[in-house]
Symmetry: C2
Subunit: 278 residues, 2 copies
């Protein structure tokens, strides 16, 4: 039983389609590779009520982790921590450890700019205001610390939206904990290109092969049109060790390629790609 | 008061981070340009219970439209319509109009391939099985028709996940209705590059300018680090006509660039971009 994780992306820029949600994709891939199950990705606006509602809803589904991205910075529309606090019926206050982290950052920036000091304005202190009971996570790349707080069965982790900062805190503070949670599992995936059969022809073949190969998940992705079919078949599994994972997928590949060729289809491409728990 | 829309993306490939959610981004941008408000984007797996729960939750928020992408095809894991039916306490059945659409498609494909006929297998008929009370939307690019069904205050629209098919049905069947819903509104956005000021310095400037310019939304996106700051400022508004929208944003730009320069910041880039209701 793999642990469930939810991702909550906060940011108006995502809801107006200004940028693609590459943070969620990066994290989903990384979590899957670690052997965890990303159950839901939700994107909402920089609005305290929206954030609070989305956090409350996620908590009722009891994921092991709820990871948010975005909304930790110094500007008025960085509202993620207020939203989380509201969801947990608490409020934000200046956290001493977080304040020390932010202070140190501005001391360094002042030195780099050969200034005597950079004042700790309210906008800067804001980055140290976190929900009561939460802990800051060091940000080795940027300024605003990440934040973690446990509620019921869920550990909520708030990460910045700037990709290098999000990735740094994820790798440094989160991955060690996530590896323990996942245990010793491996995610293994391969993909095949198939031409000469329509996706509607492949449907029954996939059905049969998945039935015969428990634990192997096969999904077809049409790359051309049904009339000039070119299909990508994606096979994946999560197992206790990489030999088991590889064997499972290999058996499914042999069966599915045999059946496809017997029905007049062609295998146009084969890409094996192991992703281990690391 | 602009109408709320929710997007529901269905597909395991999104939750394992295999592909970025470009469908949601495209649609979010298109809806925003039409003058509508995308309130939430949710991504869930190819699982009937997950789809049904996500649809039920969305409906309670009463968006004008709930648009789903993915899961309409012929394979076993195309489960979106079953999930929608479950959420609405109904079931799927073969819809005569949808069946006619699918039949016509395979007649055309058979002709193109110089076959006497392509049999209507259960996998192919599956694409005509839609929730009771729903209507098919013609798919001029691919095979599976889109589907629409009204529930309470929300019109649910299910579109395929293959991008050219999704976009074709969106433009042909949805945009005319969405334009009426939005009325005569224009979305207008511009962005500025700012260097020489930290995001934490800009925070108070943005606050003041947004306070003085109701209806203009300003968001800062750090592009460098707080220590070597380069910030993108994104200004946007939705208004009844493009002159009003442009005037509003222009006034805000003048005030913000004046203040930034007075504080020692530099404007490095200016990109005006009008997006009208078309």
């Amino acid at each position: 039983m793999t642990a469930n994780i939810e991702i909550l992306s906060v940011g108006n820029e995502l809801l107006i389609g200004k940028i693609p949600n590459t943070n969620a994709q990066w994290m989903a891939k990384r979590l899957t590779t670690l052997g965890l199950n990303v159950r839901r990705i939700t994107t909402i606006s920089d609005d305290i009520a929206e954030i609070s509602n989305a956090v409350k809803e996620a908590i009722t589904r009891q994921p092991a982790f709820l990871v948010t991205t975005g909304g930790l910075g110094p500007t008025f529309d960085d509202k993620t921590l207020e939203g989380i606090a509201k969801a947990l019926n608490t409020s934000c206050e200046v956290n001493e450890e977080a304040l020390r982290i932010v202070e140190e950052k501005y001391k360094t920036y002042a030195k780099e700019r050969e200034l005597e000091k950079i004042e700790l304005t309210p906008a800067r202190v804001k980055m140290a205001k976190i929900p009561k009971g939460a802990k800051p996570l060091p940000n080795t790349v940027g300024t605003a610390p990440g934040v973690t707080i446990k509620h019921d069965k869920t550990t909520i982790v708030a990460l910045p939206g700037v990709p290098p900062e999000m990735k740094a805190i994820f790798e440094e503070s989160l991955v060690p904990v996530l590896k323990k949670l996942a245990g010793d599992v491996t995610f293994f995936e391969t993909s095949l290109g198939v031409s000469g059969l329509m996706e509607s022809d492949l449907a029954t073949i996939i059905d049969k092969v998945m039935h015969d190969n428990a634990y192997v998940y096969i999904k077809s992705h049409p790359r051309g049109q049904e009339r000039t079919p070119h299909i990508e078949l994606h096979l994946s599994t999560t197992a206790k060790d990489s030999t088991t994972a590889k064997n499972r997928v290999s058996r499914a590949i042999i069966q599915i390629t045999d059946t496809i060729q017997a029905k007049g289809g062609k295998i146009t491409r084969f890409k094996a790609k192991k992703q281990s728990n690391s």
